[in-house]
């Protein structure tokens, strides 16, 4: 365990991020923002919510992976993120059962 961390830690610190890559990610984020604003003016019916959340999730993944550097971190750091995501997903899903039962059942 400690040996593993040691190695990845060295890897992480040897990875000095570049200016260029971060600027590219920023351009992608701006483009996705333009896309989500454009899509909002198109009537997609029930899919509007999912499309907006999909685009937001892609943006979030870019920020987390590159800006927040998690892509270059070790498995322990990644597991925190996964645990956090899972807890939130479980709460949302379990709540949804109750919610849809109340308002559509």
């Amino acid at each position: 365990m400690s040996g593993h961390n040691e190695n990845t830690s060295v890897d992480k610190h040897e990875h000095v991020p570049s200016y260029g890559k971060n600027v590219m990610i920023w351009l992608a984020l701006v483009a996705l923002t333009a896309l989500t604003v454009t899509v909002a003016s198109v009537n997609l019916g029930n899919y509007t919510f999912f499309v907006a959340m999909l685009i937001a999730s892609i943006k979030a993944m870019l920020v987390i992976n590159i800006f927040m550097h998690i892509k270059y971190d070790d498995i322990l750091m990644k597991s925190i993120l996964i645990a956090c995501g899972l807890v939130f997903a479980v709460i949302i899903i379990m709540y949804s059962f109750d919610l849809f039962n109340t308002y559509t059942g």
Binding site: P17, N22, L29, A60, V63, F67, M77, I92, Y103
Partner: protein, 226 residues
């Protein structure tokens, strides 16, 4: 676990950590754990996600209950303002990263420059928010207002209540992030944060990106879904 952290710190910052490097030979036994700092920061961000997560769940629940009221209320928010603020925060996230990159490449002045720019973007966000809220309050839309209580349906009251609560809590985080940046600026100036010891700036960056992340979801949920 302690073995892990000692290893991580030892390898990640060999020179500064053990004091063989730049400034002071006295710090031979000075313990530094960058890995632990970062891990702790991520744990803190976890609690932040759950704090906002609870509010997102509240938003979601009422959205299912009052789809039409949400639709009508969202029409009243200014998309341009929201979009501008999104761009401001995304760009500030970039400049924050560039500040860290510059510091790690040992260009202190560039790092400080980007940090000041990031602070400026944070301030811009707050000013935009001020004008946005002022316009809404001017139209009588704020929690507990007569306009909301007497003329609007329950769903709109809930929507605007959540709008003020969530964007307010978010803007509070922006302000906290800006205060942290002031400290980082001072620490870089004094050399406490330096190219070999940049974890504080990195953690400040993580916090700032979280603020950006939350806005990435707030923007479509409040401004675009109508």
């Amino acid at each position: 676990m302690s073995t892990t952290s000692v290893d991580a710190h030892g390898h990640s910052n060999n020179h500064a950590g053990h004091g063989y490097g730049d400034n002071n030979q006295l710090y031979v036994h000075f313990h530094r754990d960058d890995y632990g700092s970062k891990f702790g920061m991520w744990l803190f961000l976890f609690t932040e996600v759950l704090l906002f997560g609870g509010l997102f769940i509240l938003y979601y629940g009422y959205r299912i209950a009052y789809p039409h009221d949400y639709h009508n209320a969202a029409m009243e928010l200014n998309i341009v303002m929201g979009a501008v603020n999104t761009l401001v925060l995304l760009t500030s996230s970039l400049t924050m990263v560039l500040s860290i990159v510059a510091l790690r490449r040992e260009s202190i002045k560039t790092s400080l420059f980007y940090l000041v720019i990031t602070f400026g973007f944070g301030a811009t966000f707050c000013v935009n928010k001020y004008f946005e809220w002022s316009a809404k309050i001017h139209h009588g839309i704020f929690p507990g207002s007569m306009e909301l209580k007497e003329t609007r349906p329950a769903g709109e009251v809930v929507f605007f209540g959540l709008y003020y609560l969530m964007t307010g809590l978010h803007t509070f985080h922006v302000i906290v992030g800006m205060v942290i940046m002031v400290f980082c600026f001072i620490f870089i100036k004094t050399g406490t944060i330096n190219p070999k010891k940049y974890i504080v700036l990195e953690n400040a960056g993580l916090y700032w990106h979280l603020v950006d992340l939350i806005w990435i979801f707030l923007f479509p949920l409040f401004y675009l879904l109508h």
